[in-house]
């Protein structure tokens, strides 16, 4: 896994790899539709692909259970949101992380509001590129604690659940 993945616009260039010769290095972004269409050929090219950061670009309304099955092939999954009120992306993120134990990089792009970034992070997303405005996304974090446990276990430190409050208080008293 390429944990240092930084999203930039060049990643948006979706290579029509099935028709073109594959470049030797760099990112390769494959759209979900292409991937599904040509998955068999990919297996053939496995050696070449292993040298790359392989990213999957997937619309937020794609069947989550299907994405989950294929997630393991990709170091990066880029989820596209068409409309910020479409909340499927939150379930997709959590299910990839929690049900399919996806450990790669999760990026979200498209129409979303800065106000949703905290939710997106808590659902397992790592990086964000909004098409809503040109300015860099501010991520005002208003909350010191959350009621729910969600996301990968390592990010659950400030989630108080119901019982964890006692633990937090005890911890604070000890330190």
């Amino acid at each position: 896994m390429d944990s240092s993945f930084q999203y930039d616009n060049s990643v948006d260039e979706c290579i029509q790899w099935a028709e073109s010769p594959l470049p030797d290095t760099g990112h390769l972004v494959i759209h979900w539709d292409l991937w599904i269409e040509a998955e068999a050929r990919l297996v053939q090219w496995r050696n070449k692909l292993e040298k790359k950061t392989l990213a999957l670009r997937v619309p937020a309304d794609t069947d989550t259970f299907e994405v989950g099955k294929h997630a393991g092939y990709f170091q990066v999954i880029i989820v596209e949101i068409d409309l910020f009120t479409d909340g499927r992306v939150f379930s997709l993120g959590r299910m990839l992380r929690e049900n399919y134990h996806y450990e790669g990089h999760l990026h979200v792009t498209g129409d979303f509001l800065p106000d949703q970034i905290t939710f997106l992070k808590r659902c397992g997303f790592d990086s964000f590129s909004s098409t809503n405005n040109d300015s860099p996304i501010e991520n005002p974090s208003y909350y010191s604690h959350y009621y729910q446990a969600s996301g990968p276990l390592t990010t659950r430190d400030n989630q108080i659940g119901i019982k964890r409050r006692d633990e937090i208080i005890k911890f604070k008293m000890l330190t």
Binding site: G87, L113, N132, Y146, Y147, R165
Partner: protein, 565 residues
């Protein structure tokens, strides 16, 4: 004993009520700050109308016909006198001196200014209140039985579970942008006083064959354009799985609920489209996947929340109600005692309904003065506690028998002793075209006219239990589908007409009412209702056969003939 004794100020401690610890308080304070910033960004044109809409709705702020409307959450209908005084202050200072109690136990302010909404929320936060998720496509206020904790037939007090769901659902990272709104009701008695079967999820505390208490889970109920009674998805769910099971249902809904048409986006449509079997299979599969990873609800956590709802210190030797001769001869008092009070599991105490349905009042409205009086009366007679009911009334949960007469006399002074609970004039009524931008027709003037026509209390008592519910449009906020008599306002070429339904019910035998025929003109509605009542009086077997029982026995034909014949 609380799980966080250190964070409580014992001098302010209130029994039988969930008080925030500093985590709860911080989260609400932080929400106020977030909403203030969101409002400022909107006012500074940094957020468009379309962008701000879901953000403000998620915090209870509507833009209505004439003004914004702010819906403040009253979690599962529980209020303290201090909170009610704050609501009175807010209604007076920021609004026009009254509020409106809703069928989902919340309170609405009809005239706040948008710019002031953050200040209102900040004031609310000082008394542990908020407007979080009182609207929008998210999980709404969880509602329950107003007799929770006091009714004799209760299997278990549902309120701790409501509070657990409140916390779990507040600013939920995954479920804040659902296809549509999502409502949960919890009941603890075999009797359903929370209309749980017409909720997206209904949770009923039940015993299984081993005597263990858990939940019967219903899904897919709802009113609106497509009224549907919820179906059992799981007959018994262990308490420890409450949140993981809710998680599974909500996730399947979030993934598969329709987003292309808001009128088909509720979970009831999904359940109907898939069929309950197929929907159950999806939920159960997902639940099997997540239940080991999701934290279980531990008994000690439940106990910690339960500890907040220990009943207050009741009088060991309660004064039995002695009906002195003065009381017996006071017909008005005995009528009130019969209609507006209810048995309490503690001997020597009763629960008292405060009718917000006086003949001169908009159903469910309460003035600032009445709020303040109620707060004082709650302090004096009911351990500082007030509840709101699904029927848009108030309720004092713990009143000593010996105090009832004095309480009644005081309530009369404030026009809060209308002895009509459960009768025809104890109507549910939505704000209608007078306030709401969705409505097709007015609802409040119809209610007013019904009040004028049926102003004889003795006649109302003779008619017995009768639920009349009025909605100003097919969104059905007035629950007309489940009224024994339902009235629905429709628009006919720019004129207000009304459809009448019969035989609906919102209790444990929930039923959707049947339309009796073509809609009637506005000036004929109350005549039609009067004829329905006449038909009932003619056909009932005896005065003990209720209106609903008569409709069930005979069907709608004799009623229909009376109205249209």
């Amino acid at each position: 004993m609380s799980h966080l004794p250190a964070t409580r100020d014992p001098s302010n401690h209130i029994e039988d009520f969930y008080q925030y610890d500093h985590f709860d308080q911080r989260i609400v304070d932080q929400r106020v700050k977030e909403f203030r910033d969101q409002t400022n960004r909107y006012l500074a044109d940094e957020l468009s109308e379309d962008q701000f809409r879901p953000l403000r709705l998620m915090n209870g702020l509507y833009i209505e016909r004439f003004a914004p409307m702010l819906r403040v959450a009253i979690p599962y209908g529980q209020l303290t006198s201090r909170q009610l005084r704050m609501l009175a202050w807010i209604a007076r200072f920021y609004d026009r001196g009254y509020g409106h109690i809703t069928t989902r136990q919340n309170i609405q302010l009809n005239w706040p200014k948008l710019e002031k909404a953050p200040d209102i929320l900040a004031d609310l936060a000082t008394v542990q209140m908020h407007a979080i998720q009182t609207s929008g496509s998210c999980i709404r206020n969880t509602t329950t039985d107003h007799l929770a904790g006091i009714s004799e037939d209760e299997i278990e007090d549902p309120r701790p579970y409501c509070e657990i769901i409140r916390q779990w659902s507040s600013s939920h990272p995954e479920f804040s942008f659902l296809p549509r709104k999502f409502k949960i009701a919890v009941t603890g008695s075999p009797k359903d006083r929370a209309a749980s079967q017409v909720h997206d999820i209904g949770l009923h505390l039940v015993h299984n064959d081993d005597g263990e208490i858990g939940f019967e889970v219903l899904v897919g109920g709802g009113l609106g354009r497509t009224p549907i009674v919820g179906q059992v998805i799981r007959p018994f769910l262990k308490k420890k799985y409450l949140l993981s099971y809710l998680q599974a249902i909500l996730r399947i809904y979030n993934l598969y609920g329709r987003r292309d048409n808001k009128h088909k986006a509720r979970i009831k449509i999904l359940v109907r489209a898939l069929g309950i079997e197929s929907f159950r299979e999806k939920v159960e599969n997902e639940w099997q996947t997540i239940r080991t990873a999701e934290p279980e609800l531990q008994q000690e956590e439940i106990d910690a929340i339960k500890a907040h709802f220990t009943l207050p210190d009741f009088d060991e030797k309660p004064t039995r109600l002695r009906l002195a001769s003065v009381h017996i001869h006071d017909n008005a008092f005995t009528n009130w005692l019969t209609r507006n009070t209810v048995a309490h599991k503690q001997a020597g105490y009763r629960g008292v309904y405060i009718s917000l349905k006086s003949p001169t009042q908009v159903p469910g409205d309460i003035t600032t003065d009445q709020m303040l009086s109620m707060a004082d009366l709650a302090d004096e007679y009911s351990f500082g506690l007030i509840r709101t009911t699904h029927d848009q009334n108030l309720f004092l949960p713990h009143v000593r028998d010996g105090d009832l007469y004095t309480l009644w006399k005081t309530l009369r002074k404030f026009e809060l002793a209308t002895a009509n609970i459960g009768t025809l004039t104890d109507m549910i009524c939505c704000p209608g075209l007078d306030f709401c931008s969705l409505a097709n027709a007015t609802a409040i003037p119809i209610a007013k006219e019904i009040n004028q026509r049926f102003d004889d209390l003795d006649y109302l008592y003779d008619l017995g239990d009768l639920q009349l519910k009025i909605s100003g449009c097919m969104n059905a906020c007035g629950h007309h589908h489940v009224g024994h008599i339902g009235i629905l306002g429709v628009d006919k070429k720019g004129e207000e007409w009304y459809q009448i339904t019969l035989g609906g019910s919102a209790n444990e035998n929930a039923r959707i009412g049947e339309r009796i025929g073509p809609s009637v003109a506005k000036d004929k509605v109350v005549d039609a209702i009067a004829r329905l009542i006449e038909a009932y009086v003619e056909h009932r077997l005896d005065p003990d056969e209720s209106f609903l029982a008569t409709v069930k026995r005979l069907g709608i034909t004799p009623f229909k003939e009376k109205v249209y014949g």
